[in-house]
């Protein structure tokens, strides 16, 4: 796999740092312009993780924390592909996920929401994409939860995803939402994304063709990472 510099990130498509509807961004956003940096080897390379680091249950959130039974909630499969902007599969990409339980409660010391923890649900998982860029998780559909932003703000049901491609410049963290959730269009974090088309790309459709009858429904979620030019040798013209 060749590895040149990455296509420039479209920062009008991503959320801006300062987005006051999401209050915490007000004091955590740089005020000075980012300095543009042509990719060097430091950005074009990145860690790649081997399948051997994975445990057999790492992508099964129904089982990887279970103590004395299955967690309570809607059983789902989340699957899709990691592609680059040219539509090429990204094999060997590490995807880490985290989420609340069916009642919207996170297993975290600082979480104080009154909905109870599920003794059989931890809420973390990870997997590495196959040669065709495909991946798959099994989990419980997370519940919405309230958060102290506006006086009555609720996050839509969502799963957080952290993705490593092949270069550190591709590093991305995002959130997956579920088709048909009316909270998506009320959420100040979703609304940090200026373009409706970009938001729609984060909404996973229900996928009946991959639903396992009498077991678990499926949602399909494709992830796109930055594309890259084809050569690493800087004394040659770059291009594809």
């Amino acid at each position: 796999m060749s590895g040149g510099s990455f296509y420039q990130r479209d920062r009008r498509w991503h959320p801006p740092a300062y987005s006051p509807g999401y209050k915490t961004s007000i004091t955590r956003s740089p005020q000075k312009a980012l300095i543009a940096l042509d990719n060097t080897l430091s950005e074009m390379t990145g860690p790649v993780f081997g399948h051997d680091m994975l445990g057999p249950l790492d992508n099964d959130l129904i089982r990887n924390f279970a103590k004395d039974g299955d967690p309570i909630g809607q059983r789902i499969i989340v699957h899709g592909r990691v592609l680059d902007e040219d539509g090429r599969p990204v094999p060997g990409a590490l995807i880490e996920v985290w989420q609340a339980n069916a009642g919207g409660r996170y297993r975290h010391k600082k979480e104080t929401y009154l909905a109870p923890l599920d003794p059989n649900f931890g809420g973390c998982g990870r997997t590495i994409t196959a040669e065709d860029g495909s991946y798959r998780f099994r989990t419980i559909k997370p519940g919405p939860y309230p958060w102290p932003n506006g006086p009555n703000d609720w996050r839509p049901a969502h799963i957080h995803l952290s993705i490593f491609g092949h270069g550190f410049a591709q590093r991305l963290i995002t959130q997956m939402y579920f088709e048909g959730d009316p909270l998506i269009w009320l959420c100040p974090i979703v609304a940090t994304i200026p373009d409706k088309a970009a938001i729609e790309r984060l909404i996973a459709p229900l996928d009946m063709a991959n639903t396992v009858p009498m077991d678990a429904r499926a949602y399909k979620f494709d992830i796109v990472l930055r594309g890259r030019r084809s050569t690493l040798f800087e004394n040659r013209m770059e291009g594809n």
Partner: protein
């Protein structure tokens, strides 16, 4: 309408949120028994070549309060300046060095720590050498898209002055925000590097 370039758009970023540790450092967040060890927790083994160093810092918001829920990642070359990556074409990097580290801020102090080695110099695209540096990536609640920055070493004055990136920063007074002073703590070179997200001392962040 002109023809379509037929490219996909990158998935839009969203904040990592306050519970990023559940997914990225579950053992640190108290979820044990799922992964043996948190990813990026250990960059070195006894066989790793190079000078042992420690990097310690905090991330401050625009009010001057340290973030207690940030996650900082580091990516760096080995002692010879080679990256342990399949994209590295110049040679085989030290097999005993990960190059990648991940540190959650301490839940009370916000302090992040990396025990690593000092990287060797890496060439810039025109062949000049870059000064030794770490690439840092910062995510947290309130940060909508991960912030890229670099850490350069305060005791590499000559290399820093010749660095193709440091030397072309227009506002010279901002360049020191990327340079960590060296001290010695517990007999080991230690670089204290605080990152300011906003305000007078704002750290330089890159669009890479």
């Amino acid at each position: 309408m002109v023809q379509s370039l037929d490219r996909l758009k990158e998935s839009a970023s969203q904040t990592a949120g306050p519970y990023v540790h559940i997914g990225c450092t579950p053992n640190f967040s108290g979820i044990t028994g799922v992964y043996e060890e948190d990813l990026g927790n250990r960059m070195l083994s006894p066989e790793t070549k190079g000078e042992r160093i420690r990097v310690i810092g905090r991330v401050f918001d625009g009010v001057g309060t340290p973030l207690k829920d940030a996650l900082v990642e580091v990516w760096q070359a080995d002692a010879a300046g080679l990256y342990p990556s399949p994209q590295e074409t110049r040679g085989q990097a030290d097999p005993h060095f990960s190059g990648f580290g991940r540190s959650p801020g301490d839940m009370e102090t916000g302090e992040f720590v990396f025990d690593t080695i000092k990287p060797g110099p890496v060439p810039f695209k025109d062949g000049r050498l870059q000064a030794p540096h770490l690439t840092l990536w910062i995510v947290a609640r309130g940060i909508n898209l991960g912030l890229h920055t670099r850490l350069y070493f305060g005791d590499e004055t000559e290399a820093n002055e010749a660095d193709p990136i440091l030397s072309r920063i227009e506002h010279r007074s901002r360049a020191p925000t990327l340079i960590a002073p060296m001290t010695t703590e517990d007999g080991r070179p230690t670089y204290r590097h605080d990152i300011y997200l906003q305000g007078d001392r704002e750290t330089i962040f890159f669009d890479i």
